[in-house]
């Protein structure tokens, strides 16, 4: 298995906030192009890679779509005052993780976009409205300081410019990696491993690799790609909650101990069953992850695309989701990639006919 870390580090080191995924899409396209037969972008920017299966009937060959969203949460410039930049959130950001965090302001005021280093500022209580300065300070009161003089900021930064987390990725002993946007670029890496594995595996079904846009805000990327591609079945690969500081209970899973297989109204039970069988056969450790209503992944949207699509969710446990210091085990990424490849290879031409509801 190739070393996925350099690719993973490269894709978490470029921008790609929801709605503005092009920089990361370009990197993924470059990586996937030699691994697939066709590659293209959807009308709203999702990346589609097709690796053809061996089933005889070209026009009715069954297909599995594997969706990994490539967009990231972050911030967007809402106001500039005296060189200080106020922001709003793109996706779910707990403002408590922000004060003191390094960020990158993707400034568009100049002749071409430039990346400005900045820090999120916690203003003194006496400069905020009564009662807003103690305890957790709401996002609207936080500011970003770039170290530049006010006139430079006014010239270079515009309302609507994106701001991404600036924490640099770091490797930890034992094969762990920490950084921002591992949700969900770690899954993109897993899908890449799957495509690499499939180079030397025979598979009957077509495989559509999807790096979807806008999962963190609307699930709109996976929804529209599922409609366009109209796969026979779809699998969302995403991150789930790792056990760690402040996180325990049934919804959390140890990192480095395997991936999770979803059980949820969003998930077709027959797909869950097949994944479980495959994992047991190839000895990849898995745990069931129960999600009583929504899976909160692209699967929720893909399930409802067109006339409905049987979906599945495979997740990689990760500590500190949606913070600048997400933490994941590289071997779980490898496990997810291998499990996906084994699942794809297991799909018989008549797999759909084996589904018996009752």
């Amino acid at each position: 298995m190739s070393d996925i870390l350099p690719f993973l580090k490269s894709i978490i080191s470029v921008a790609g906030l929801s709605g503005y995924e092009t920089p990361v899409a370009n990197l993924i396209e470059e990586k996937w192009t030699p691994l697939v037969d066709e590659i293209s972008r959807s009308r709203i920017g999702s990346l589609h890679g097709l690796k053809k299966g061996t089933a005889s009937k070209k026009n009715s060959r069954p297909s599995v779509l594997i969706a990994t969203h490539m967009d990231a949460i972050g911030l967007m410039v809402s106001r500039i005052a005296d060189g200080f930049i106020y922001v709003t959130n793109i996706g779910g950001v707990d403002s408590r993780v922000l004060p003191g965090s390094p960020v990158t302001v993707h400034a568009t005021g100049g002749s071409r976009e430039e990346a400005l280093y900045g820090v999120v500022v916690l203003p003194p209580a006496n400069l905020l409205p009564e009662g807003q300065g103690s305890g957790a300070v709401a996002l609207k009161y936080l500011m970003i300081d770039t170290g530049l003089l006010p006139k430079e900021v006014a010239k270079r930064v515009c309302i609507g410019d994106r701001v991404s987390f600036g924490t640099e990725p770091v490797e930890m002993s034992g094969g762990y990696v920490s950084g921002h946007t591992l949700d969900n670029r770690a899954s993109v890496a897993a899908l890449t491993i799957c495509l690499e594995e499939l180079q030397s595996r025979s598979h009957v079904w077509d495989v559509w690799a999807l790096a979807s846009v806008q999962e963190e805000v609307t699930l709109g990327g996976a929804l529209t790609s599922a409609f366009q591609i109209r796969p026979t079945i779809a699998v969302a690969v995403d991150m789930t909650f790792g056990k760690g500081t402040g996180s325990s209970g049934y919804a959390t899973f140890p990192i480095g101990k395997g991936v999770t297989l979803g059980i949820s109204p969003s998930i077709h039970p027959f797909l869950h069953k097949r994944f479980k069988e495959v994992a047991e056969r190839v000895e990849i450790p898995v745990k069931d992850e129960v999600m009583a209503q929504y899976s909160s992944t692209d699967a929720d949207a893909m399930q409802l695309a067109a006339e409905g699509i049987p979906t599945m969710v495979v997740s990689i446990p990760q500590r500190y989701m949606h913070t600048p210091v997400e933490l994941v085990a590289v071997k779980d990424i490898q496990r997810a990639g291998r499990l996906l490849a084994e699942f794809v290879a297991s799909l018989e031409e008549d797999f759909m006919n084996q589904i018996k509801w009752d």
Partner: protein
């Protein structure tokens, strides 16, 4: 005029990126010793770990001037091993706990990188998000296979950056003072006996400076530190009258803080020196806070003191910001002031 060029920036970068939490200042101490040895007449490491440097002056009994900058920084101490790479920690020095979750830290002599995690927003309630996370519920996470020892120190992992007119780094307070003292030693004037204290444990009670002042028994002393600039806009657009200092307005001369009444003769002398030499300066707004001057003033039979600080924004946080021009003006104000000092200064 002395300038801030690449060698000075490189040295400050090295000093800022070092870990030197109060009580464990070895990393910065080694850097200071290496820098000062070629220029000093006398160098010693005292009982607490401060580096004390003497550069003799000309004449029979030149004025003995002590300059102090503290080597220590606020940070953390590992206090308990919770297994699986989780470590409980306590803060060393004044740290606003709201700066901690979601940050990378470095731990121990090898600077092992860890993170202070936070519960995912998905698992929090709206009312929970209105409250700051308390330090005792935080852990440093080195990953399941990461190891540290109880007693290890830790600090923010952010790295020094030079950006436009600014520097952005942890520990500008007070590595910028350390860098200024090193530069002044390299350009030490002959008219005074220059005594430099690179002090330990300022952040936890001005401890190093207290005994250093006793050792030197100076005629007067200047604490060279870095002070907060709270020159931020008010959210509702009211004028901000409580800025303490402002970035870009030069060295901040103190008049009073919670631990010191600065000597009016020295305050006046510094301000006049700045005026005469066209060096931009500002007075720090009198009030709270403190520097090593507080400990030095009460040494032996008393020492006339004043504090001069390079302003920085975002005190004791992962990233502070200072202006290179303020650094340069502070260095030059002190350099010229030292050259003009005579015993008459204290006779007025």
């Amino acid at each position: 005029m002395l300038s801030i060029g690449t060698p000075q920036i490189k040295l400050l970068e090295k000093l800022c990126n070092a870990m030197s939490v109060s009580g464990d200042e070895g990393e910065v101490r080694r850097m200071v010793l290496e820098e000062v040895k070629p220029y000093a007449d006398e160098v010693k490491v005292d009982a607490l770990g401060s580096v004390l440097v003497r550069k003799k002056g000309a004449g029979k009994k030149p004025l003995r001037v002590m300059l102090d900058a503290h080597m220590d920084e606020v940070g953390f101490m590992i206090v308990s091993d919770d297994e699986d790479g989780f470590y409980q920690f306590e803060c060393v020095g004044g740290i606003d706990e709201r700066h901690l979750v979601g940050k990378q830290v470095i731990v121990g002599k090898d600077h092992t990188v860890g993170v202070i995690g936070a519960k995912p927003i998905h698992l929090t309630t709206a009312s929970e998000r209105e409250h700051a996370v308390s330090v005792d519920s935080m852990r440093i996470d080195l990953g399941p296979d990461g190891r540290a020892k109880v007693g290890d120190r830790a600090t923010f992992a952010t790295k020094f950056k030079r950006v436009g007119p600014s520097i952005m780094s942890k520990s500008i307070d007070d590595r910028i003072g350390v860098a200024i003292l090193i530069e002044l030693l390299k350009h030490a004037p002959k008219n005074i006996e220059l005594c430099l204290s690179f002090s330990v444990q300022e952040e936890i009670g001005l401890r190093g400076a207290k005994v250093a002042a006793h050792y030197f028994a100076p005629d007067l002393a200047i604490a060279v530190d870095s002070t907060p600039a709270r020159d931020l806009p008010d959210y509702e657009g009211r004028e901000n009258y409580t800025y303490n200092t402002q970035l870009g307005l030069g060295p901040a001369i103190y008049m009073a803080n919670s631990s010191t009444m600065d000597d009016p003769r020295l305050v006046r002398f510094l301000a006049e020196t700045a005026e005469k030499n066209n060096i931009q300066y500002q007075f720090r707004q009198p009030g709270g806070g403190g520097t090593d001057a507080g400990a030095i003033q009460q040494s032996r039979a008393g020492v006339p003191v004043v504090s001069v600080s390079v302003p920085h924004r975002y005190t004791h946080s992962p990233i502070s910001i200072s202006r290179v021009d303020d650094w340069k003006n502070t260095l030059n104000l002190l350099h010229i002031a030292l050259q003009k000092m005579t015993p008459a200064l204290l006779e007025k």
